[in-house]
């Protein structure tokens, strides 16, 4: 430790990186942004599920794989999972205070969301392209 008053750094250099990097509200904003998007996409998802109720597999594949339905499903999945990734992060930060546990939970959250999103997106694309 240097004695008080002998720091060769400028005041700006000392505070740089310690305060707002103009990204403090990013998490809050993205949670709201995805929430707004989730309203029409959830309604679309409910309509899509209703349209395949009771139909056989071939009909379900045809409906889910059609471009409009597949695009709406992709938007719903990506938006919802991004939203729940942000939401679960807040829950973890609120309730898990032990550093190691918190880190483990935050990592698990990201792994879970990435895997769920990628698996769902893959399935939708496979339904569309019929590979």
């Amino acid at each position: 430790m240097k004695p008080e008053g002998f720091d060769i750094r400028t005041p700006m250099g000392r505070v740089r990186g310690l305060g707002s990097a103009r990204s403090g509200t990013q998490h809050f904003w993205q949670e709201r942004l995805t929430a707004v998007a989730a309203i029409p996409l959830t309604i679309a998802f409910i309509v899509i599920v209703a349209s395949v109720l009771g139909r056989n597999h071939a009909a379900v594949v045809q409906i889910l794989g059609s471009p409009t339905v597949a695009i709406l499903l992709l938007l719903f999945i990506v938006n919802s999972i991004y939203h729940m990734w942000l939401g679960m992060q807040v829950i973890i930060e609120d309730y898990v205070h032990h550093d190691v546990s918190k880190l483990a939970c935050l990592m698990t959250n990201t792994f879970f969301c990435a895997a769920a999103a990628l698996a769902s997106v893959y399935a939708i694309l496979k339904l569309s392209f019929g590979v």
């Binding site: 709201r32 929430a35 209703a50 597999h57 379900v60 729940m84 829950i91 698996a119 769902s120």
Partner: protein, 134 residues
């Protein structure tokens, strides 16, 4: 934060159990719980999509589960959680604009969320069961 040295005990804000439980407080908790339920529900959606893309046999397994009593209970819960979280989210978006904080308004919004979510869930399931014919 844990791990950092604390020179002396800091004053704490009163904990949750100090306050009388109000409807808006309960709904805030329910909003978080439904969010966590939907988090796990993403697995159901993923399973359904993967099964549909895998083929008729895999899809039959999913249909079998979703058609069973337990499956239907889970799906009914998922439907309610989805609608409730959506309506609760709309309520929070209204609050984000700075509106709806009055004593009557916030109670009204809160009641509308509960009743609306129950009504819409039953409506959707009635429609769905009529469509399937059971």
């Amino acid at each position: 934060m844990t791990g950092s040295p604390i020179p002396r005990p800091r004053p704490l804000s009163p904990h949750l159990q100090i306050y009388r439980l109000t409807l808006t407080m309960t709904m805030s908790i329910v909003h978080r719980i439904t969010g966590m339920g939907l988090y796990l529900g993403a697995l159901l959606v993923a399973w359904w999509l993967i099964a549909a893309s895998s083929g008729p046999n895999a899809y039959a397994v999913v249909e079998g589960f979703f058609g069973s009593i337990i499956g239907r209970l889970v799906l009914f819960g998922y439907t309610w959680a989805l609608i409730h979280h959506m309506l609760g989210g709309i309520r929070h978006l209204v609050w984000d604009t700075g509106h709806g904080f009055g004593a009557n308004e916030r109670e009204w919004l809160t009641r509308a969320t509960i009743l609306g979510s129950i009504f819409l869930t039953i409506l959707l399931w009635t429609g769905g069961l009529l469509m399937v014919g059971r």
